[in-house]
């Protein structure tokens, strides 16, 4: 029952604190994605759990036992990196069977495991091929199975989709999710891609500057972000700096916006996702705007709509009907408005 617990984990490089007193528990068979921009400490954390880096302080427990003194090869963790480095002189089957062979199994037993693993990712007919003859997506599937063939129940994924064509990467992420389910794996997946994180995880852990900002189900993270940063990094949001005027009301550029809940106290920012704004005329929460840009994206159309000095992003699944210069109305449904109190918006949205 591999569950993983990290306690007050800290890693410093000189003056720089890469991972800052992180606490996290990952349950058996849970698929957790750690999401954040480059340099947020996500890979450093993964490498410490795998035993590739030593923490300055804190503890790592697997199955309730501290593994700080356990060498990486004995932690029994499968590890898949961005660059699938298969052995070029071995066939696909030999690559996958390499782990079991090193564990002391016979050639026949290693072959059997290899065949079973390749079947799972629909690559059995390529068993005798050399890696170089396979596409990038296929090679990464082989690398995935090689990392699991020794029978590990814990899988670490470090940006495994980044070096693939996006179209191939999207297919592979669903394949990885299915493989993890079939083999009852406990997975920690490190990524900077919010789509990957939302789509295949049981839980998403959002990191920033060495700390965890929020951990929750994909729907929690998306619909109930705890900070402006989370709602900016994952998906898109329109942020409005507002003033409280009534119990459930705020004012923005002289207009009153009704909220579904009482307005929070203090310096207040409200936010709404582009796809939650409706191009409709209601009695309340409706603004007059002018279309600045209409951008057809395929399944949706995205508009930039100017209201006074503020530009709203609005995304709709309807076909593009509005053009630049057209007048329109925007309705902000109260139940879709998020509130953040006590944040410096500029600070929160600085990620570049």
């Amino acid at each position: 029952m591999p569950d993983i617990e990290i306690k007050n984990l800290t890693k410093k490089f000189g003056d720089f604190t890469a991972v800052d007193k992180i606490n996290l528990r990952i349950a058996d068979k849970e698929y957790v994605t750690v999401l954040g921009p480059s340099g947020c400490g996500k890979t450093t954390m993964l490498r410490m759990i795998a035993g590739l880096l030593k923490p300055n302080s804190g503890d790592i427990l697997i199955d309730g036992k501290s593994v700080l003194e356990t060498p990486p090869e004995d932690r029994n963790i499968g590890y898949l990196f961005q660059n699938y480095s298969l052995f070029p002189h071995m066939t696909v089957k030999q690559n996958v069977g390499y782990g079991p062979l090193m564990e002391g199994l016979s050639g026949g037993e290693a072959d059997m495991i290899s065949i079973k693993m390749l079947k799972l990712v629909r690559l059995l007919e390529r068993a005798g091929y050399m890696p170089a003859t396979l596409s990038g997506g296929m090679q990464q599937r082989v690398a995935l199975m090689r990392s699991l063939a020794a029978g590990t129940r814990i899988l670490f994924l470090d940006e495994p989709l980044s070096s693939l064509d996006p179209k191939v990467g999207v297919k592979l992420r669903y394949e990885i999710q299915k493989t993890a389910r079939k083999l009852d794996l406990t997975v920690i997946h490190v990524s900077h891609d919010q789509q990957d994180a939302l789509s295949i995880s049981d839980r998403v852990v959002v990191m920033k500057q060495g700390r965890i900002v929020q951990a929750g189900s994909p729907k929690d993270i998306y619909f109930r972000p705890s900070t402006p940063y989370v709602s900016y990094f994952i998906g898109e949001s329109n942020f409005l700096e507002v003033k409280q005027v009534g119990d459930g009301e705020v004012s923005f550029k002289g207009k009153t916006i009704k909220l579904a809940e009482p307005a929070k106290k203090g310096r207040l920012v409200v936010a709404i996702r582009p796809e939650r704004i409706l191009l409709e005329n209601k009695l309340e929460n409706t603004f007059d705007g002018v279309v600045e840009k209409s951008n057809f994206l395929g399944s949706t159309t995205k508009y930039l709509i100017k209201v006074g000095g503020y530009t709203f992003k609005v995304q709709t699944a309807k076909h593009p009907e509005l053009e630049k210069g057209d007048k329109t109305r925007l309705y902000l449904p109260p139940e879709d408005i998020m509130q953040f109190s006590g944040f410096n918006l500029e600070e929160e949205l600085r990620i570049m």
Binding site: P37, S38, G39, S135, G136, G137, M138, D165, P166, K167, V168, K171, Y174, Q177, K178, H192, D193, Q194, Q195, L198, S199, I200, P218, K219, Y222, F233, I234, G235, R273, E275, N295, F296, L297, G298, S299, T300, Q315, A317, P320, I351, M352
Partner: protein, 353 residues
């Protein structure tokens, strides 16, 4: 602003034909995106335009003038390629201002322009730093800024956002698009990322195996794909290899599928966009399936439905109360089905690589 024309360009590397008799016209002004999978020839196309590669046959014309034998530096074309190199002994600001300095742009204007593009790539605070003090992604953004600092007739960008963090790439898309509009640039941007292509491209050029499959506005290529490959590569489609069973009916997987036009051939490939398929029980083209997989994507939810052993994908922005293992009805409106006749046998396996 310029007009670029490629006439019957062929480029080979040994046995591989990277560009196979390609003709293309890039019209003045506007954002053109060349999109296709790895190895389709899109970077080669860009290098031929830039003059970095010499084709075996064919001509390259800029504003009607044949530049086939003109060296790259005399074509007045700005380009960004993935193997960019920054000058290590120059600061970020000096790197970005370099194209302006060698063209004797006055200092005041040079600095103004340099800061404008550094702002655009989010690195205004790093002007005085040296490349080695920056991360790989930041260095890439400096190289992109350097390409943008000088207003060239044509701007060629080879996967300028590919190795960046997804969110930063997303922000830079917006900035690139704004800058191109403001400076009225002619841009040719190459990417394997279909989302990026749809977002940025006013004109889209779809490539595959050294050939141009389709060109058109973003709306045209998405709603009127000329081949199954375009329907596969841009967005996501369900493909149904069907056998004609009536004037406007095909049989797929034991199910009758009605389309809104007459079928000419015996075997046809039908496709339906995943966002056009509905969870509804509504007369014709309704069939039962079992939900096998649910993926939350934020704006939308993606469902994989097992229909008689085949996977059908439905994507919706509504958030229906559907759970794993549920039996559901799936409906495809006949008007949302594209019909492809005379399909290449290999295209029946699109996406199964």
């Amino acid at each position: 602003m310029a007009n670029i024309r490629l006439e019957n360009v062929t480029k080979r590397f040994g046995d591989v034909t990277a560009l196979d008799d390609v003709s293309l016209e890039i019209k003045k002004k506007g954002y053109n995106v060349v999109v296709g999978p790895s190895g389709c020839g899109k970077t080669t196309l860009l290098k031929v335009m830039a003059g970095l590669l010499k084709p075996e046959s064919g001509r390259v014309l800029v504003d009607g003038v044949d530049v086939s034998t003109t060296p790259p530096e005399e074509r007045e074309i700005g380009f960004f390629f993935q193997n960019y190199a920054l000058f290590p002994h120059m600061t970020v600001e000096e790197n970005v201002g370099y194209p302006l300095r060698i063209r004797d742009v006055p200092e005041e204007e040079r600095l103004k322009r340099t800061h404008e593009v550094l702002e655009m790539v989010g690195l205004a605070g790093w002007a005085g730093n040296y490349p080695r003090e920056l991360s790989g992604g930041m260095q890439q953004r400096v190289a992109l800024a350097r390409t943008l600092s000088f207003k060239s007739r044509v701007l060629l960008l080879d996967e300028p956002l590919s190795a960046l963090d997804a969110k930063i790439g997303f922000i830079l898309r917006e900035n690139l698009s704004k800058l191109a509009k403001k400076l009225e640039l002619t841009v040719v941007h190459v990417t394997p990322n279909q989302e990026e292509a749809m977002d940025l491209g006013e004109n889209i050029i779809v490539m595959r195996k050294g050939k141009i499959i389709q060109t058109g506005t973003d709306y045209e290529v998405y709603t009127k794909p000329a081949t199954p490959f375009t329907a596969y590569f841009l967005g996501e489609s369900n493909f149904m290899a069907a056998r004609k069973s009536g004037e406007q009916t095909g049989e797929w997987n034991g199910i009758k599928i009605n389309v809104d036009k007459s079928l000419a051939s015996e075997n046809v490939l039908l496709s339906a966009r995943v966002e056009k398929v509905l969870f509804e029980k509504r007369g014709k083209n309704t069939f039962k399936g079992v939900v096998e997989s649910i993926n939350f994507l934020g704006q939308t939810i993606r469902y994989e439905v097992n229909v008689h052993g085949k996977t059908f994908v439905v994507q919706t922005s509504k958030h229906p109360n559907i759970k794993l293992g549920d039996e559901v009805h799936v409906h495809i409106p006949p008007s949302e089905i594209k019909v492809f006749e005379d399909v290449d046998a290999a295209d029946y396996n699109l996406g199964f690589d």
